[in-house]
């Protein structure tokens, strides 16, 4: 096969080859720069306090720590899942001050003083939340890895609809949105399920909302 202008690195080619090649091309300067820093210094940390599932936690964290990793690696609340770590899959969805967010896209230090609900805060195997029970009854999961995010999202979706927040598929922005099949599907579309349990998840959410979705 023919490469255009074989192996000559164009600007576009440099971008295409990825970060490591870029680094290689400028290796000497960046190494020198790195070596001029006091490398062994520990990274900056910050103290924070937030409430997770009704329990106050005082933490001192590397400021680069995401809320997701604070929950999973520091508080050992591993029910919140890391699927992509950059806001594309929804597996890390938690509820912060009543709103669902991707916990991988936000740093823990940004949540000082806030109230966080994770899957563990919704219910336990012995005392499940209605949404968790509905997911089991409707087989709204298979491998289970996206499931905590789907459930946190689902709980928040019903609250959003109740609060009158419209979505992309809400036809009448002046009327209160209702729980319909398309409203659920639209609002849940940030939570990927690769096993493909979608219709079962929608049925579970509809069940909790008291409608046939």
């Amino acid at each position: 096969m023919a490469l255009p202008d074989e192996f000559s690195i164009s600007r576009r080619g440099l971008l295409a080859a990825g970060a490591a090649s870029v680094a290689a091309a400028s290796a000497s300067s960046s190494v020198a720069e790195a070596q001029s820093r006091p490398l062994a210094d520990p990274p900056p940390t910050a103290k924070l306090r937030f409430d997770v599932n009704g329990t106050a936690h005082d933490l001192e964290l590397d400021t680069r720590t995401t809320l997701l990793d604070a929950l999973r690696e520091h508080l050992h609340l591993s029910g919140t899942k890391k699927g992509c770590d950059h806001g594309q899959c929804g597996a890390c969805t938690v509820i912060v001050d009543g709103r669902r967010i991707n916990s991988c896209l936000t740093l823990a230090v940004m949540h000082d003083g806030e109230k966080i609900t994770t899957i563990e805060g919704l219910g336990t195997p012995d005392k499940m939340h209605a949404m968790q029970e509905a997911f089991v009854a409707h087989d709204g999961f298979q491998c289970g890895y996206c499931t905590p995010g789907q459930i946190c999202s689902a709980v928040a979706v019903l609250d959003e609809i109740k609060a009158g927040i419209p979505s992309h598929v809400t036809a009448d922005l002046t009327a209160a949105p209702t729980v319909t099949n398309m409203e659920i599907r639209e609002r849940m579309s940030g939570n990927i399920c690769r096993c493909g349990a979608y219709p079962n998840i929608v049925a579970a959410i509809g069940d909790v909302a008291g409608v046939k979705a």
Partner: protein, 734 residues
């Protein structure tokens, strides 16, 4: 227990627990976030260090130099593993490319280093300080260009690359109606939700890996072989797996690098592959170019059928077996199939859900639709007309069960197929509406599978097997099997899976897991029943296990009484004989899809989906339905959006994350209906079941493609069917 004659009546046939749509037994754990996945095991939590993988930035060539100084000096760094310091490493039997590259590089994002640090943030940051100079070499990255260099590959797992019956060329030339078309399918990613992840801990020379793996025994072997240690020194633990779809059949870099990292750092090390790293580091379903030729009489009888497929892989890899189903699906006296394999220096190609059939049916079942139209026949009728009840390449081999026609007929009736209009003729407001059909086909495979069962004095039965549950429902159907055999309710059964210290099972792959692993549990339970009866002084032949009791004649005991003096333990393996050689065991289905295509923009929306399946005894209709709708969803993705975009200059998949590699989301998938036909197949195992987990994806994409054609009158033969490929062919807007 040998299984070499068809099953007769046995305790499973009571169907008090088996066959019921039971909720998943692990559901309360998964829905509350308390099921531990690989990266979440708490053993040695206080001392676990974090590893971050560095991948190659070139596709082919050599590492000229690596400068690790800056990374070593970074805060928290404990050790760095590279091929230069890892010692001699082997290559696993199931890996094509090495899991730790260097100095030779075989593909883009091949792992070349693991940086281990006290925290995740420190490891990730230090990994970015690793400086690598490469010597880039020319590689082959474009399948279309490499087609001319493709060669006949060796037979793999008993699958010959070429088959021929009669004289295809002559029969095709003589056929009054002919179809000759080419189709292409792109590279696909498994994109399971849980990234590959492992935690490694060494205790002396003994390694424990908490990992996410579908095939425990295969992977123990490959870990041992790669690290050059005995299999008895390796323990794999994989109780929960966040999706696999074939992507976790084999040991990957996370496991090997965690093991090497834990040795280097003298601490337990945890490693998860970063999502943008997975698409080029781990295997994918290879792209195909396929040619299908059909010759038929004017009445619609196929007289000549051929299917050829070209795909590429790294040296030592194998072909995508896209012609496999064409050897068995339709009648036709003169026939041939052929596979050719080119060398490509892209990341490793390997099995993804229904390897072979999934892309193969994407071509064949569109060809069938095109031929039906040429013949002026309904596509359902055309398929029914060309049914065969025997292996068309070896007519002395009948199918054990083959209800394809009934699947098609039942589906057509339920779906309202009779309302399907001519191409481009059905409107619903701005939407062009169309229906499509395709056959689903996948062989039923069996694999030897062992289990251990323990009976406690309280009457609780514990099952131990290294079988895995990748979302398929293994925990539940294995529990149901043990409950049925021992005559107790499901809540008296404890199921333990995914640990290499348990007896070796079939594992999860090739849709062989459900039937094989439950048959292994059946075999172990037969032994436990004998032991229990004997202990109670009852004749094992007469003893009836039901309602928590063991009864024979007028004597009756609580099941737990048999273990009053101590736990009873039994272990056995189901060993499959040659039944599958004499008669063909396959699963069948029919997919029906309705789409709407925006008459102005070409946007495609799936409106309805129905699958009718015939796949032996359905052990749990709820879990089986979920398997099928999951396949339908992945098939919808293959039809409409999934494509790894190849950078043909530098040799890598460009869209290597979940925003660039699009998979179906909630908004894409409507209600999906599944119907299972009654079927019990005594040839498959004492369970009389077959696989269903891959049948669900087979044919779906073609049914969507055929529906898009019916809606628009525009035929697209290059997947995925995106609107740019047909918008200029849409009907004029009135």
């Amino acid at each position: 227990m040998k299984f070499d004659t068809p099953a007769t009546t046995n305790p499973i046939d009571r169907l008090k627990v088996v066959g019921k749509p039971t909720d998943r037994v692990e559901g309360p754990l998964k829905t509350t976030g308390t099921a531990p996945y690989a990266y979440e095991h708490r053993d040695f939590a206080a001392t676990q260090a974090y590893g971050h993988v560095v991948g190659s930035a070139i596709a082919k060539g050599k590492i000229a130099s690596m400068d690790l100084d800056a990374a070593h000096a970074a805060p928290g760094v404990l050790a760095i593993v590279t091929a230069a310091n890892a010692g001699k490493l082997g290559k696993g039997d199931f890996n094509t490319a090495k899991l730790l590259g260097g100095p030779e590089i075989q593909h883009y994002h091949q792992a070349i280093a693991l940086v281990i640090a006290e925290t995740f943030e420190q490891a990730r940051s230090a990994a970015a300080l690793v400086r690598v100079e490469y010597t880039r070499e020319k590689g082959a990255f474009d399948l279309a260009v490499a087609l001319d260099t493709a060669v006949k590959p060796p037979a793999m797992f008993g699958t010959e690359p070429d088959t021929s019956v009669g004289d295809f060329a002559a029969a095709f030339a003589a056929a009054p109606v002919q179809l000759d078309q080419r189709y292409t399918t792109p590279d696909h990613a498994h994109a399971m939700m849980e990234p590959h992840a492992s935690i490694a801990n060494w205790d002396g020379d003994e390694l424990t890996l908490w990992t996410s793996n579908q095939m425990i025994a295969w992977s123990v072997g490959d870990v041992a072989k790669t690290l050059g240690i005995g299999k008895d020194k390796v323990r794999l633990v994989s109780p929960y797996i966040g999706g696999g779809f074939g992507g976790k059949l084999f040991v990957r870099a996370d496991a090997i690098l965690a093991a090497l990292g834990a040795k280097a750092a003298r601490r337990p090390v945890k490693v998860a592959l970063a999502r943008p790293f997975m698409f080029n580091n781990t295997p994918h379903r290879p792209a195909t170019v396929q040619r299908v030729r059909l010759g038929a009489t004017k009445e619609g009888k196929i007289t000549a059928i051929s299917h050829e497929s070209w795909s590429g892989d790294l040296p030592g890899g194998g072909p995508e077996t896209a012609v496999a189903q064409t050897r068995l699906l339709y009648a036709g006296a003169d026939r041939m199939t052929m596979m050719r394999l080119a060398v490509l220096d892209l990341p490793e190609g390997n099995a993804m859900r229904a390897p072979g059939e999934a892309p193969g049916l994407m071509a064949l079942e569109v060809a069938m639709d095109e031929m039906a139209e040429k013949l002026g026949l309904d596509p359902v009728q055309f398929r029914i007309l060309n049914d065969t009840q025997v292996d068309p390449e070896a007519p002395s081999r009948p199918f054990t069960q083959r209800q394809l026609n009934k699947c098609l007929e039942t589906g057509a009736e339920k779906f309202g197929w009779a309302k399907r209009g001519k191409p481009g003729a059905t409107r619903d407001g701005k939407w062009l509406v169309g229906m499509g059909v395709a056959a689903a086909f996948r062989n039923n495979l069996n694999a030897n599978s062992a289990a251990r069962v323990r009976l406690s004095g309280s009457g609780v039965v514990t099952v131990e097997t290294d079988m895995t549950d990748i979302g398929t429902g293994s925990y539940t159907i294995i529990g149901q099997t043990a409950a049925e055999m021992m005559g107790v309710p499901l809540d008296r059964i404890v199921v333990k899976l995914g640990d290499s210290s348990f007896p070796v099972s079939a594992g999860s792959g090739g849709q062989w897991g459900a039937n094989s692993s439950t048959a292994g549990v059946y075999a172990a339970c037969v032994k436990l029943r004998e032991a229990a009866a004997q202990k109670l002084g009852l004749d094992p032949i007469d003893a009836v296990f039901a309602d928590g009791k063991v009864k024979a004649g007028r004597r009756s005991f609580a099941l737990g009484d048999a273990a009053k003096d101590g736990e009873l333990v039994a272990e056995d393996m189901i060993e499959f004989g040659k039944l599958a050689e004499k008669e063909q065991q396959s699963t069948f289905g029919a997919h029906f899809v309705e789409v709407g295509v925006d008459s102005m923009t070409g946007e495609i929306r799936i409106r309805r989906m129905l699958a009718v399946c015939a796949a032996g005894r359905i052990l749990n209709p709820k879990a089986a339905r979920s398997q099928v709708i999951g396949g339908m969803t992945m098939g919808a993705g293959a039809a409409l959006m999934e494509e790894l975009a190849v950078d043909k200059r530098f040799g890598f998949f460009v869209n290597h994350d979940l925003a660039g590699y699009e998979v179906p989301v909630h908004a894409d998938i409507p209600y999906q209906e599944v119907i299972f036909l009654d079927e019990v197949d005594p040839n498959t195992s004492p369970m009389k079941a077959k696989g269903v987990g891959e049948l669900g994806i087979c044919g779906v994409a073609a049914a969507v493609a055929n529906a898009v054609y019916n809606a628009t009158g525009a035929r697209v033969r290059s997947y995925p069917i995106t609107l740019d490929k047909f918008i200029d062919k849409l009907p004029e807007i009135a």
